[in-house]
């Protein structure tokens, strides 16, 4: 066995032992330990990966080392930036906003009629479980290769989860609360804006958070069916064909950062909007 590989295994074992000591030690409930343990675990995995690739001379066309991926990431920031704008800003983000707005409006309409709700909810639930990503080739055929077709795929993908969650959320008030609004002689709009929408917010944000990941997946996979010569999905599929896997991994790194930042952004808004909800309480 190669000594580089050996050292990386030694580091992994050492980090794990340190983690065990920290997790069972005195300060295990402190914030710093909660941050340190997963970070150390992540770092030790990266070190092990690096040692595995270097020590055993794994060829770059099978698994590039983390340092090689990072170098490629730094060297091709302009391409990555261009792909990010094409796929994330133009495709995923615009589709997400349109799909969320459409789902919200349809949910408000559906909510007014009990008959529609009982008809649309099962259909919407069914659609939310389907492999909707399959409409990508059809929408690429209809809307062309550029970002419009990607946005259309994203609209279809995020529509049903947000619709179902919003309709569920608008039912979340109990009879007592609605009766109270009734005794205040509140109109439909007053009780919607002051009672039912705020009460629905935890559900709506649940849908919005699920949809962030779906939006990015939709925009990337739709590019496998045809795209201009930029975009994250295009880059991934062509660079895989050229076996330059470090570029693929750099693109995946961008997707991972974009995905968690997008999710985090929606989660921060949720914390400010639904500060009153039990799930947002901090500390015990």
């Amino acid at each position: 066995m190669n000594h580089i590989f050996g050292w990386s295994i030694a580091f992994l074992i050492f980090a794990t032992l340190l983690n065990v000591a920290m997790a069972n030690g005195e300060g295990r409930d402190q914030a710093i330990t909660r941050l340190l343990v997963p970070t150390l675990f992540g770092i030790s995995l990266l070190v092990f990966w690096e040692g595995l690739v270097r020590g055993l001379n794994v060829p770059g066309v099978i698994l590039p080392a983390p340092t090689a991926i990072w170098e490629r990431f730094l060297a091709s920031t302009s391409i990555l930036r261009q792909d990010f704008i094409q796929t994330f800003v133009k495709g995923a983000l615009s589709g997400y906003v349109m799909g969320a707005a459409a789902a919200f409006v349809v949910a408000l309409l559906v909510d007014r009629s009990d008959f529609l709700r009982r008809g649309l909810l099962p259909v919407g639930n069914f659609m939310a479980a389907l492999p909707i990503i399959g409409v990508a080739p059809i929408l690429v055929m209809w809307f062309g290769f550029d970002w419009q077709s990607k946005a259309a795929v994203v609209v279809v993908m995020v529509f049903f989860p947000i619709l179902v969650n919003t309709v569920e959320g608008l039912r979340a008030t109990d009879r007592m609360q609605r009766d109270l609004m009734h005794t205040y002689a509140a109109s439909y709009w007053q009780s919607l804006l002051k009672l039912r929408l705020p009460a629905a917010m935890p559900f709506i944000f649940n849908g919005l958070k699920v949809a962030t990941t779906l939006a990015l997946i939709g925009a990337i996979v739709a590019e496998f069916f045809g795209s201009p010569i930029r975009g994250m999905g295009f880059r991934i599929s062509t660079e895989v064909g050229r076996l330059s896997l470090d570029m693929v991994w750099a693109e995946i790194l961008v997707a991972a950062i974009a995905g968690s930042a997008f999710y985090g952004f929606v989660a921060v808004i949720e914390r400010h909007v639904t500060f009153w909800h039990p799930s947002q309480r901090r500390g015990r």
Binding site: D114, P131, G134, I138, T213, L245
Partner: protein
């Protein structure tokens, strides 16, 4: 009758056994059928303007006079205006070979021609049959789902029982759900191909990876769902960790188990379909989608899409039925 269709209506005064069983079913089925009928109506309405240009072009080539006569003018014209000017060709839009939007009846005929009709001819598993492609996708999905679910449960058991695993792995498992994992599917396929792993396994691994983390997160929640009182009770009985697990944690995690299996199954199917694309559209429903999009065979794309939807519905439906039966026998259903 109408008052009984309302959810808050009082029950019928003399409910016969059959009637009391029928009415709730009607109440939930009728609206669904109305919505489905509305979707079909919308579909046919959208189909006419979407296909009108192609039908006019074909009619012109066959020698008919259409308005406007010039193909370039037609390209720039409004599709609805074209329909209004050439009402005689509306029927033609339903009978295109390669329509921009095929009608539900065309999709259904294609589905029947590639499944039932081929079975009747005794060629049910030939490479041109959709059943064959659905079977390829199904086998990868189920294998991947099995690997991912077993792995996810194992990790969840570890996380619930070991503090260090909980602290080190759980944040990563949650964070990984926000990452578009599906993007790595082409790379996994090609890399595994280059080290000699081909066929079912690479696709199944993508499926497994996709359903792994949702199952882990759901099962951690489920295994932690017994409250402190119940855990304390088992503690006073002097129950070992294994006994606590089998007699309390595992049974009370069942609702979460089935919910995460449903999510995992849907994710596994998506993984298998996307995993079939980079290999150059050989077999499977994903390959049918890609081949259809390469050759402009829209009816084929739609029929593959419907087959995938049907597969998802059946798979998730089976888990749902298992859930109902199991939870009922355990006395946990509402």
């Amino acid at each position: 009758m109408t008052s009984e269709l309302r959810p808050d209506a009082a029950p019928a005064r003399h409910p016969t056994p059959a009637g009391s069983r029928m009415l709730p079913i009607l109440r939930s089925v009728v609206p669904v059928f109305v919505v489905l009928a509305a979707i079909a109506a919308l579909w046919y309405t959208a189909l006419v303007p979407m296909n009108i240009r192609e039908s006019l072009t074909q009619a012109e080539r066959a020698g008919a006079v259409v308005d406007p006569p010039n193909a370039i003018e037609r390209r720039d014209a409004n599709a609805i205006g074209l329909v209004l000017k050439n009402p005689a060709y509306i029927a033609d839009t339903l009978r295109q070979d390669r329509p921009r939007l095929p009608g539900p009846d065309q999709v259904w005929r294609e589905l029947w021609a590639t499944t039932g009709a081929m079975v009747l001819e005794g060629k049910g598993l030939s490479k041109r049959s959709l059943l064959y492609h659905a079977w390829v996708t199904l086998s990868a999905t189920v294998l991947g789902f099995a690997i991912g679910t077993v792995g996810g449960i194992a990790l969840a058991v570890g996380i619930v029982h070991s503090r260090v695993m909980n602290m080190a792995i759980m944040p990563w498992a949650i964070a990984s759900q926000t990452i578009p994992i599906l993007a790595i599917a082409p790379m996994i396929i090609v890399v595994l191909n280059s080290i000699g792993v081909t066929g079912l396994l690479p696709k199944a691994l993508i499926s497994a990876y996709l359903c792994f983390f949702p199952v882990t997160v759901g099962m951690v929640k489920g295994l932690r769902s017994p409250d402190a009182m119940q855990l304390d009770l088992l503690h006073t009985y002097g129950a070992s960790r294994a006994q606590t697990f089998w007699k309390l944690r595992w049974p009370s995690s069942m609702p979460y188990f089935f919910t995460s299996m449903k999510i995992g199954m849907a994710a596994a199917l998506v993984g298998a379909i996307v995993g079939e694309m980079p290999t150059g559209a050989v077999r499977g429903l994903g390959a049918r989608l890609l081949a259809g999009s390469y050759y402009g065979q829209t009816v084929q794309i739609w029929s593959a899409l419907f087959a995938a939807a049907l597969l998802a519905a059946v798979l998730v439906g089976i888990i749902g039925a298992l859930q109902t039966v199991t939870l009922k026998r355990m006395g946990m259903s509402q």
